[in-house]
């Protein structure tokens, strides 16, 4: 039925079956839109956030999703700037993932703020000393860049490329892709960093506050590094997942292993710097503010185990596995390590948001807990559903994996 929209030579299931696949995700999206609608219409009292937990599930998941979507900029940097041509096998998929992650995060942010219609105020009256201003500007620009990077993929669709103007425009866009990749890298460096800077500058939250290098706290650099480290891992995981669902190979095994190795190298550097940063924070920063690090870890369930889990179990361990060439050749080890790396970054973002806000700052304060409401979970599930829908449509009608056809013939 829609064969003429699908590229020649690619195996895609029957239209009916595809629609059956889309249906549950569409229903989930509908439910999620309803949840978000409730929050927009009735107000943020629909969530379980409060004056102490000003940031909740949404902010934590936004940060995680943006870190995971870093695969888009990092793969782009490696392919177009460092000329690692073998990664061309996954760059298209990475761009779609990036687009989905960033557009989803921005949508959730619009529901998260109390007055979404005032979003343009940040542009009109920017506070250039605030990390959040930097994040806003950068992410808006980057989303635009991602959309422009997605355009050639779209225009290369079998039917769309018949239109002569689309064909020629796609050709020209591809010629300047390296400029967009460079701009994307520059923007990503800054917003990934500023997302970390959001918490590192909080003097009032000694748990999160870090020493600065120039105007940027150490969390700025640690966030960039961890995002770059986990980007390839997430691309790896999603590629494997798509291969599993599609039922055939999409990418050569050495490409997967290369992604794993890139992750491993960056992850080990990150773990080392994070360890140093933690030691400095424990021995210098925190005492200077009149606190001791033991105070922060004295509240259950956030004991010292969480620090150990973040740096060792989900940081050092996957890094060591990914650096071992023999382990990388085994799918099981490679995927587990990649998964652990992603979990480690998620845990790091969790610690920076939820744990920071849970901890008291004054003697008559209390350690408080927070559990998201179903509206919050629903809104986030909408983003997941939206992501799956966009990716599924892109996978079916566009060429996300250039190696797929050659692999089919083997």
């Amino acid at each position: 039925m829609d064969r003429s929209y699908i590229a020649r030579g690619l195996d895609r299931c029957a239209t009916r079956r595809f629609l059956m696949w889309l249906l549950p995700w569409a229903l989930l999206l509908a439910f999620g839109v309803y949840s978000a609608g409730l929050c927009l219409v009735k107000g943020l009292n629909q969530t379980n956030m409060d004056n102490r937990f000003a940031f909740g599930l949404w902010i934590f998941l936004d940060l995680t999703v943006i870190a995971l979507g870093a695969g888009a900029f990092f793969t782009g940097f490696l392919v177009y700037i460092l000329r690692m041509h073998e990664l061309k096998a996954v760059i298209n998929s990475a761009v779609v993932i990036g687009l989905v992650c960033y557009s989803g995060a921005v949508t959730v942010l619009m529901v998260d703020v109390g007055q979404p219609l005032r979003a343009w105020f940040t542009f009109w009256h920017p506070n250039v000393h605030s990390m959040l201003t930097e994040v806003t500007f950068c992410i808006t620009c980057y989303l635009t860049v991602l959309a422009i990077e997605y355009l050639p993929l779209l225009l290369k669709n079998r039917r769309l490329r018949q239109v002569p103007s689309f064909l020629v425009f796609e050709f020209e866009l591809h010629r300047v892709m390296y400029v967009l990749a460079g701009v994307g890298t520059f923007l990503s460096f800054f917003h990934q960093g500023s997302l970390g800077g959001l918490y590192g500058v909080l003097r009032g939250r000694p748990f999160a506050f870090r020493e600065a290098l120039g105007v940027w706290p150490s969390t700025f650099f640690l966030f960039v590094l961890s995002a770059a480290a986990v980007g390839p891992s997430f691309v790896l995981l999603t590629t494997w997942l798509v291969e599993k669902i599609a039922g055939h190979q999409l990418v050569e095994r050495p490409v997967m292993q290369k992604l794993g190795r890139l992750s491993g190298v960056l992850l080990i550097v990150y773990v080392l710097l994070k360890a140093i940063d933690t030691l400095v924070w424990m021995n210098r920063t925190t005492p200077a503010e009149g606190f001791s690090p033991q105070q922060f870890y004295g509240f259950e369930p956030f004991g010292v185990w969480i620090l150990f889990a973040e740096i060792v179990v989900f940081g050092l361990l996957p890094a060591v596995i990914l650096l071992d060439a023999r382990r990388r050749r085994s799918q099981a080890w490679l995927l587990t390590a990649a998964g652990f790396a992603c979990a480690g970054v998620a845990l790091n973002r969790f610690v920076m948001t939820i744990q920071t806000l849970a901890l008291p700052t004054l003697p008559f304060d209390r350690f408080l807990s927070y559990w998201p409401s179903w509206q919050e979970v629903g809104t986030f599930l909408a983003v997941v559903a939206y992501g799956v829908l966009v990716y599924s449509l892109s996978y079916r009608y566009l060429i996300l994996f250039p190696q797929e056809r050659d692999l089919k013939a083997r």
Binding site: N51, A54, G114, Q115, L132, T136, F291, P363, F364
Partner: protein, 252 residues
């Protein structure tokens, strides 16, 4: 026009006098058009620009003692956390008075300032404000009510300062006299525990009290240079404040 030395309005709260009655909380809410809490509000989602907190000495009866801390915006003068982080400059330190002014009209409701404030002095409007029928007659015409989705906090009853300045101008005076401008909480306290004034005026009572023995500020090591001082002559109070975080058990 002669150059006027900028004021630094602040207060000293005498903890030995505060009984924890909460009259300051009520007066503040009435003065500043804080809406009655929505039926679904909890102690963590209500709006209390002034909030009295309790701190005990942790000892069992008969040695247990309690002190009450009225917590309001500490009007941080240096590295003001909320001013530094607001993405659209919806908070600013007024140069003439030192008051940290919140502009709800510009607030986006991102709540970054609430994460930044170590004193938890900022409150978000989780609901649309609603006054029961008839209660709208109690609204203060000098203060604008806020809408849902924006952050608000104590601004040392800035409206009262404007009223005093307008009155002085109408009487042909350039400056207001001390005592013409007092925030609602200061006025309402039955124990007269709060002394308010211009900390930059060395001769003022508040400046002298702030320099006195037994005066301290919360979280001094953070370097926020807050303009709200607390004062006590009881040593155990000073010890309790320095004892750490999260010391107070859950109450009611």
């Amino acid at each position: 026009m002669a150059a006027k030395k900028p004021a630094r309005y602040g207060m000293v709260i005498d903890l030995d006098r505060c009984t924890g009655c909460g009259a300051c909380m009520v007066a503040c809410a009435i003065e500043n058009n804080v809406p009655p809490a929505n039926p679904e509000a909890t102690e963590r989602t209500g709006i209390t620009w002034m909030r009295v907190q309790r701190l005990g000495n942790g000892r069992p009866f008969p040695d247990s003692r309690a002190v009450f801390f009225p917590i309001l915006c500490q009007q941080c003068g240096h590295h003001t956390p909320c001013v530094a982080v607001c993405p659209q400059n919806a908070v600013e330190v007024d140069a003439a008075t030192g008051i940290v002014d919140q502009m709800p009209q510009r607030c986006l409701g991102c709540r970054y300032c609430m994460a930044a404030c170590p004193y938890h002095a900022r409150y978000f409007n989780w609901w649309d404000p609603a006054w029961p029928a008839g209660m709208e007659k109690t609204l203060n015409p000098d203060v604008a009510p806020r809408m849902r989705g924006v952050v608000e906090k104590c601004n040392l009853c800035h409206g009262r300062l404007h009223r005093a300045q307008a009155k002085a101008a109408a009487e042909g005076r350039r400056e207001i006299t001390a005592g013409e401008y007092v925030p609602a909480c200061v006025e309402a306290c039955p124990a007269k525990a709060i002394t308010f004034g211009d900390l930059a005026d060395d001769q003022s009572e508040v400046a002298q009290l702030a320099r006195s023995e037994g005066a301290f500020r919360l979280l001094e090591k953070l370097g926020t240079e807050s303009k709200v001082y607390y004062r006590s002559e009881r040593p155990w109070v000073h010890q309790a404040v320095k004892s750490g975080i999260g010391k107070e058990p859950q109450r009611g």
